[in-house]
Symmetry: C2
Subunit: 172 residues, 2 copies
DNA sequence: ATAAATATTCAATGTTGTTAAGTATATCAT
DNA sequence: ATGATATACTTAACAACATTGAATATTTAT
């Protein structure tokens, strides 16, 4: 990731003021996403955690749900295919971070729950990640934090909406 | 990814105002990173592009550099190991998106350059990605875009600084 | 010339991604 | 009830990448 593309002109709006291009934001988001995932991947790879990104995000969702969660729901929430998820849950199971049961009524459904060990690991990882991100976020002022959070949540909600629509669209 | 963790209290600051927690931002960045990379992965996977994320980010860096780039520099810039990169560049080479040469003076070094085909593909992918992200960003006002860009670039620069320090620290 | 340092590739292994096919259970129509 | 269809998930086969450590090639130092 080299220097940002700065060779494009800013937009000229009707009122004559100059505003940044949307593509600048896209570049920033892409770059931050790539770098932060890389950085996080290395953290998860340490012996004390020994996890992969897909495993973490799957476990994180189960932790947030607390109650048993269908495989298909977990797959949709984490944007992973059911086939991939089977192997991922297999490995979480080996480490005793989750438990797999069958739904009582509909025995086709496989339900997964996080174990206390799983929740405890998530807490440790969140703490380690917090320390890691402190370096990138620590210098932000309280005002900036509020603003950034508001904008990021706006972006995130739009993304989630798109994904939901995208899923229904895919099966249409 | 389920509903955001909202069960943590906001920070109470000295002046009595309530401000969002840094951890909220961390959550948002993690979630956006994961989702946007997933979404982008699916886009790159379409037949017209037929690329993977590591391939794209490697090619993107070469595109931004324009001039030939050492394997080790590319590895550092994209945060990939030299060993991984060899295979990735192999596949870019097969698709004729890059060319590999030896450095004239120091023939240990392998130099990689993007081809015109490679640059053209990057442009097409950027366009497709732009349309994809329009859905998540299109509703932002001009003010918000400026603000968000400023904050994201701040975060990005901090991350880059950390990575540089982290690299020198790792080999020390 | 020999040794040491550097840059990259190769080989072996594990996780995740894909698609397609397979198995088990549930539901619906007759 | 029985047979067809749909649903939920797993399995299988293969490609892409991640890791590590060994091997190779080239340069630099003695």
């Amino acid at each position: 990731m080299g220097a940002p593309d700065r060779d494009e002109d800013p937009q000229i709006t009707l009122d004559g003021t100059q505003h940044a291009d949307l593509e600048e934001i896209e570049r920033a988001i892409m770059q931050i996403s790539w770098l932060s995932q890389r950085q996080f991947m290395q953290l998860l790879d340490e012996e004390r955690f020994n996890m992969t990104l897909p495993q973490f995000y799957s476990l994180l969702h189960l932790h947030q749900m607390r109650d048993p969660c269908k495989m298909s729901d977990l797959a949709e929430a984490t944007q992973q295919s059911a086939a991939s998820l089977t192997g991922i849950v297999d490995r979480l199971l080996e480490k005793q971070l989750v438990e797999r049961t069958r739904h009582v009524r509909d025995r086709r459904q496989v339900m997964v729950v996080v174990t206390p060990q799983g929740s405890s690991l998530i807490a440790k990882i969140k703490q380690a990640r917090h320390e890691q991100m402190q370096a990138a976020l620590g210098h932000l002022g309280a005002e900036d934090i509020d603003t950034l959070l508001r904008l990021l949540d706006q972006v995130l909600l739009s993304m989630l909406r798109v994904l939901e629509r995208g899923d229904t669209h895919r099966w249409a």
